[in-house]
């Protein structure tokens, strides 16, 4: 049964594939977190949205968290999930003070952002939030890219070409990538997931500069940009 088979509105196949893949990823060990830890993070993020009135609790939320996260980490998750406009340098510093390393923090930002993405989309098409899947056994890889260096973001990132090294060349396809794409490069698997979601949900990356191109049936590019821009304005996102 397709991920969104209960939707009254048709959902394009590439969206279904991208979203389904993300729910599967949540249930597996990441680069820095176990599957159980990752589940605890997304459960907390979703709970923050529900408590803030931004989401409606589903009858079946799926897998439940078995790991208890430190309160300071929960605060970071809740701020990012429910009040991203209030997330700033002090929030990052609080996360580090709570014991998160930079790559752990980056992975946490990634999966909180991804689960909010999926939940907003479900809300938009009028289906209950999708149940989380049971965490799978396995250990985090803890693969830290040698190419990542301290730069202008809170955490190290892999530079643009020509200083990105072999991994960066692979990730970036040999092309300049703006900050919004490089932001998660400290955790390459999360970078890849971010790109996959971006290409299905917004535009294939090579098509972004083509102002007349629209990836979505029934919509024009300006209509897409209205929604994108208004959401970001409401989130006070300067970027």
């Amino acid at each position: 049964m397709s991920l969104y088979s209960d939707s009254d509105y048709p959902v394009r196949d590439d969206l279904v594939v991208a979203h389904d893949a993300q729910f599967e990823r949540f249930a597996r060990a990441g680069t820095w977190g176990t599957a159980a830890q990752r589940l605890a993070v997304i459960v907390e993020a979703r709970r923050a949205g529900i408590d803030a009135g931004l989401l409606e609790a589903p009858d079946d939320g799926g897998a439940e968290a078995s790991v208890e996260l430190p309160e300071a980490v929960r605060d970071v998750i809740r701020t990012l999930a429910a009040s991203p406009k209030d997330f700033d340098l002090s929030t990052y510093e609080a996360a580090r003070a709570a014991g998160l390393s930079d790559p752990e923090f980056a992975e946490l930002v990634a999966i909180v952002s991804f689960v909010v993405n999926l939940d907003v989309c479900a809300r938009g098409i009028g289906v209950p939030l999708r149940p989380f899947r049971d965490p799978q056994p396995g250990n985090p890889s803890r693969a830290l890219p040698d190419e990542a260096v301290p730069d202008l973001a809170f955490v190290p990132t892999i530079p643009n070409v020509p200083d990105c090294g072999p991994l960066g060349t692979e990730l970036y396809g040999g092309h300049f990538k703006p900050w919004i794409m490089r932001a998660l490069s400290l955790v390459p698997d999360e970078y890849r997931a971010h790109v996959e979601l971006e290409q299905a949900q917004y535009n294939p990356l090579p098509k972004v500069p083509e102002v007349a191109y629209c990836h979505h049936d029934g919509l024009t590019r300006p209509q897409v940009e209205i929604v994108a821009g208004r959401v970001s304005a409401l989130n006070d996102c300067f970027y």
Partner: protein, 112 residues
Amino acid sequence: MNPEALVRPELDTGVEHGVLLLAFAEAIIGTDRKALDDVRAELADALGPVAISGLSAVAGNFSKNDRVANGIGIPVDDMVLKGTADLREQLGLNDYKSAENTFRHMTDQKVL
């Protein structure tokens, strides 16, 4: 498209069905579920049911991106910052808390 309508939604977007699109964007990340259900139905009538998943995916995508940007503390890319001083001033973007992540590194651009 009139970008000022993104921060002052009472203005004309210059885009067909712009009023509904702005309302959808607000409702999908807002607390009024009935407003979301109502505007979704209106948009399905106006643009066809096939447009709803695209609009929802876009809203979800930028909900993601806003959190990645604010969460990782990334600055605006140089090429975008340069040449947008007037637009940023017009839209009041420099007052966003997340602007700190850019101006912390590039204070000379803020006073242009």
